[in-house]
């Protein structure tokens, strides 16, 4: 199941585990990324709290946690090569995996059709 947030993150949900990244739209808006900072494995994230930082040539931007949960894995590949987020934001450019505190909370997030309507 694929879900989206108004902060332009996507979540792929499998067995209470959410793989999180930023949307193609967000990656296009940010431009070429040159730096990515990810949370620590084991970090407890809260919904809408800072989870990661991305930087383009021009500016730094925060990436927020879409839900409450614990980070179980991070994608070192995008730290080593931030351009992966631009070239493949919704697959190889994932950010981190989150073990959700309340799986049902994901139901309140947008589906793909609703997200597409949001970004026009």
């Amino acid at each position: 199941m694929l879900k989206f947030t108004a902060e332009h993150e996507w979540l792929k949900l499998e067995d209470g585990l959410a793989t999180v990244g930023i949307t193609t739209h967000a990656a296009e808006q940010l431009g070429d990324l040159v730096f990515v900072e990810l949370p620590e494995v084991g970090a407890e994230l809260v919904k809408d709290g800072n989870a990661a930082t991305v930087e383009s040539v021009k500016a730094a931007s925060d990436v927020y946690s879409p839900l409450d949960g614990e980070v179980t894995e991070v994608n070192q590949a995008i730290v080593d090569d931030p351009s992966l987020v631009n070239s493949d934001p919704q697959a190889a450019g994932w950010f981190f995996k989150l073990k959700l505190k309340n799986v049902a909370d994901a139901d309140a997030l947008m589906d793909e059709a609703a997200y597409k309507e949001l970004i026009g």
């Binding site: 431009g31 730096f35 930087e55 040539v57 021009k58």
Partner: protein
């Protein structure tokens, strides 16, 4: 300035939009921050080939002595800038800055001897204040804003080849030369200078012909339109100051490491020593030094360190040194680059300092400027 409806536009505004530019408010103007190529590729393209920048928002101002004599205009302007303008030869340009009574910097500018008058180019954000300043202090000169001319910068190793298509004589110009030449039968004023660290030109064009000249230059396969985003990363790699970030009314030229812009004639023992606002402080600092200096800063890691990041002597953030005034990712350097102010005790190249970024103290090394090797055609 958030309200786009009050923003001014340059003559090239419609051209930017037709090229797909992302527009942002800058110094009261609606300006292109990037084109579809993106900041990274625009930066690299400028260093590899040629980039065209709209800098029409800057102020082009004529200073003409009522006597009609260049020397009178030069001596008048020397009352406001610590630069030797009198000995500037016709068709030559020089960098300078307006100083205030505290010996700090009101704006930086380019000054050209145009034979019987001076042409000065000032920053967009300071344009109105600079005009008022000159009008108030130069009673024997006519000070005229050329608001009917556009200004285009053409920068990069292929800039000469691109401009040659419109004017074959371009190769005879050297760095800081200024010539008036016809491009497409339009009288343009061309200087061989810029703000990227590359060889290049700035071209002043009568407004009605600016779009056709810009389009003619962009027709060359080596020439791409470049936005303000890449303009900033290019100038920072080149170690050039941005007024409002790296220099302002809290920094003296000597603190800003700009003493190279003061010629002998205006320094102690020179023919026209002092005689500009804040001369006591500035000449005193030239003799005795300053307590802090603007330096290049190279972050040791991959994270960019942006302006206003605080600088410390230690990794625990105990001894504060100063702050970063400009910082970004340098596409040519392939890593973060920055500039900032530190006490002279920490200003030597190779000194390690620490910048506070998101609660961490990131190591940086004081580095010689510029970060790239400029390719000015001297």
């Amino acid at each position: 300035m958030d309200d786009h409806s009050v923003l001014k536009t340059t003559t090239l505004n419609a051209l930017h939009l037709s090229l797909g530019a992302k527009m942002v408010p800058f110094a009261g103007y609606d300006m292109p921050v990037q084109y579809p190529l993106g900041v990274m590729k625009e930066h690299l393209h400028t260093r590899a080939a040629a980039g065209l920048f709209d800098v029409s928002h800057m102020g082009q101002v004529i200073v003409r002595a009522k006597s009609g004599d260049y020397a009178d205009a030069a001596l008048a302007l020397e009352k406001l800038v610590p630069v030797d303008i009198l000995s500037l030869k016709e068709g030559r340009q020089r960098y300078g800055f307006f100083t205030d009574d505290n010996g700090c910097i009101l704006d930086d500018l380019m000054i050209t001897n145009r034979g019987d008058h001076l042409l000065v180019v000032v920053n967009a954000a300071c344009k109105d204040a600079d005009l008022a300043h000159m009008k108030a202090h130069l009673p024997d000169c006519e000070v005229t804003l050329l608001d009917d001319r556009a200004l285009i910068a053409l920068q990069g190793p292929r800039a000469e080849a691109v401009l040659t298509e419109l004017w074959a004589g371009v190769s005879s110009m050297k760095f800081m030369d200024v010539r008036e030449v016809p491009l497409h039968d339009v009288a343009c004023i061309i200087s061989r200078s810029g703000y990227s660290g590359e060889d290049g030109f700035e071209i002043s064009i009568p407004q009605d012909h600016a779009v056709s000249v810009a389009k003619a230059l962009l027709e060359h396969p080596d020439c791409e339109a470049i936005g303000l985003g890449a303009r900033d990363s290019l100038r920072l790699e080149a170690g050039l100051c941005l007024y409002g970030n790296d220099i302002d009314t809290t920094t003296s030229p000597i603190e800003a490491s700009l003493e190279w812009a003061l010629q002998k004639a205006r320094k102690a023992g020179g023919d026209r020593e002092g005689g500009f606002p804040g001369a006591d402080r500035i000449l005193g600092e030239l003799a005795d030094g300053t307590s802090r200096r603007r330096v290049g800063l190279k972050p040791e890691g991959k994270a960019p360190v942006r302006s206003h990041a605080k600088l410390f002597a230690d990794a625990d953030g105990l001894q504060e040194l100063g702050e970063v005034t400009s910082g970004t990712f340098g596409p040519t350097v392939e890593g973060p680059v920055a500039m900032g102010y530190v006490p002279v005790s920490h200003a030597a190249a190779g000194t390690q300092v620490f910048a506070e970024v998101r609660g961490k103290y990131l190591p940086m090394t004081v580095a010689a400027l510029p970060f790239i090797t400029p390719t000015y055609k001297r």
